[in-house]
């Protein structure tokens, strides 16, 4: 579990996060949602230690990230997997090389053991057969899946995903969402996903934190989002005609639309 308590962050006198508190639960897909400029990325980067908040606490199962020295942060990061918006795969390595990389850096396994683990992870994300290709030779959706395989190679306790569906078509987005949700439940990971994809919000949002202008305005799950009274959240989630229709349907029938299988 990750607890964020009263985090404040300002850049050049402009406050981006205003006293934000939130809890991200183990074994659940935790979503941070909000409009562009709402502070999602700053929040995510603060969680992984790429940005130092001005005040507050970030507790990883009770361990305060903001009071750790460099060595402790490095140790904690070995428990973290991260999926970046642009996948951030190493161009000079093959798909297999990318997935094996964390194993080579942080385990004492033999090459065969590392290869076996990497192949297992690639199989888990349905990418067996692509191990010898380079990142530039595969599609954006496949790159995301390689990045997921790399992120789970070391069995992380915490998985962070920054805009995992950005640049993907709706069908591939659903595949990525389902994969993240399955992995979270299968390995009991604390998964935090930064997104403004409404399909993700309504499909896998088990714990949703809505940020608006740097304030945490709403917390709930995907079933509660349909009847929220929060105007900013309504304007954000149900901004399109399609999602307004979805909401009308759900409110009228008092049942969420089942996720597509």
């Amino acid at each position: 579990m990750i607890e964020v308590k009263n985090v404040i962050k300002a850049f050049d006198g402009r406050t981006v996060l205003h006293d934000v508190s939130a809890t991200f639960y183990t074994g659940k897909t935790n979503l941070i949602i909000g409009q562009s400029g709402s502070g999602k990325t700053v929040m995510m980067k603060s969680l992984v230690g790429l940005i130092q908040p001005d005040s507050g606490e970030i507790l990883f199962d009770g361990r305060n990230l903001l009071k750790m020295d460099t060595g402790q942060v490095h140790e904690l990061r070995k428990e973290i997997g991260m999926l970046f918006q642009g996948s951030a795969l190493f161009d000079s390595e093959t798909v297999l090389g990318n997935v094996m990389f964390p194993l080579q850096m942080f385990t004492r396994q033999s090459f065969d053991e590392m290869r076996e683990r990497a192949m297992f992870c690639l199989d888990r994300v349905n990418l067996k057969g692509a191990e010898d290709k380079y990142p530039s030779e595969i599609s954006g959706g496949m790159q995301k899946r390689v990045a997921i395989a790399r992120a789970i190679a070391l069995n992380p306790k915490y998985l962070f995903c920054d805009e995992p569906n950005s640049g993907l078509d709706p069908k591939t987005s659903i595949v990525i969402d389902e994969l993240l949700s399955d992995i979270t439940h299968e390995y009991n990971i604390t998964t935090v996903i930064n997104t403004h994809d409404m399909n993700s919000v309504l499909g896998i949002g088990e714990n949703i934190i809505f940020l608006n202008k740097g304030h945490r305005e709403w917390v709930g799950d995907m079933s509660q989002i349909y009847d929220t009274a929060n105007e900013a959240l309504n304007n954000f989630v149900f901004a399109t005609h399609l999602f307004q229709k979805v909401r009308e349907y759900v409110v009228k029938n008092e049942t969420p639309i089942p996720p597509e299988k």
Binding site: K78, F84, A88, F90, P102, M105, F106
Partner: protein, 249 residues
């Protein structure tokens, strides 16, 4: 303002170097990456070094012969002057200025691209010291291989002059070869090699520094690459003066 900015940049460079010169987490991976960098930065530069050296060596020999032909100056002086210019300045300082363009821009753009595509962030999130992992193999690989390039440059430049003597009638081969051997000072070779170690370090570390701290996108990578080449060229010229004063006087 300029002084303040320069001091701030130098401070950041020192902090960066402290991170770079940490012990590698995995020696085997470090060795493998260093060998890769020797190939990428060193071996790949050999054709350029050979081509440039042959032509510049030839030009130096021709110009020396044209400018110092006098009944009062021995005919072998062309070979001697060509040799000393090559050993003292061309094979190290000028060569490194040329390599600052090739190798420096390669390093800065590679690391800068890794920065803007979040690959460096990915390394940091994994708990890897990205500065050490990415930059130390480049510095070690390039510094270790630099003497090979310098010696190759010395040899091919003198061969360039030899070809002028062989295929033209402005100087005889025997006088050119005699000049190459006359009044030879071994220390000049060592002087060139010592300078090249320093210049190789400057090229690899300064270009890495500019690439590592890129912010923005593709345009900024290009700018960082240019800045890295300009800064390392100026530092090479500055240290050329300092080292010449220290080593030759």
């Amino acid at each position: 303002m300029l002084i303040t900015n320069s001091l701030a940049t130098f401070g950041r460079y020192c902090i960066f170097m402290r991170r770079v010169f940490a012990l590698p987490e995995r020696w085997r991976i470090f060795m493998r990456r260093t060998i890769q960098e020797v190939g990428k930065l060193g071996l790949d530069s050999i054709p350029l070094v050979i081509v440039i050296s042959i032509f510049i060596g030839a030009v130096i020999a021709i110009q020396m012969q044209l400018n110092i032909s006098s009944p009062l100056i021995p005919a072998y002086s062309t070979g001697l002057a060509t040799r000393d210019i090559v050993l003292l300045e061309f094979s190290n300082s000028i060569l490194c200025l040329i390599l600052a363009g090739k190798v420096g821009s390669n390093i800065a753009s590679e690391i800068g691209t890794m920065r803007v595509t979040e690959q460096i962030d990915a390394l940091e999130i994994m708990g890897v010291n990205s500065a050490n992992f990415l930059v130390l193999p480049k510095i070690v690989g390039f510094v270790l291989f630099m003497p090979v390039l310098v010696v190759l440059c010395m040899a091919t430049s003198l061969i360039g002059g030899y070809l002028v003597a062989l295929f033209t009638d402005i100087i005889t081969v025997s006088k050119y070869v005699y000049g190459l051997q006359a009044l030879f000072t071994e220390w000049y070779v060592w002087y060139g090699l010592i300078k090249s170690f320093v210049f190789a370090f400057i090229i690899a570390s300064v270009a890495s520094f500019y690439g590592y701290y890129v912010k923005g996108g593709a345009l900024d990578v290009g700018k960082a690459s240019t800045d890295g080449v300009v800064a390392s060229s100026i530092l090479i010229l500055l240290f050329d003066v300092i080292l010449t004063k220290l080593l030759l006087q």
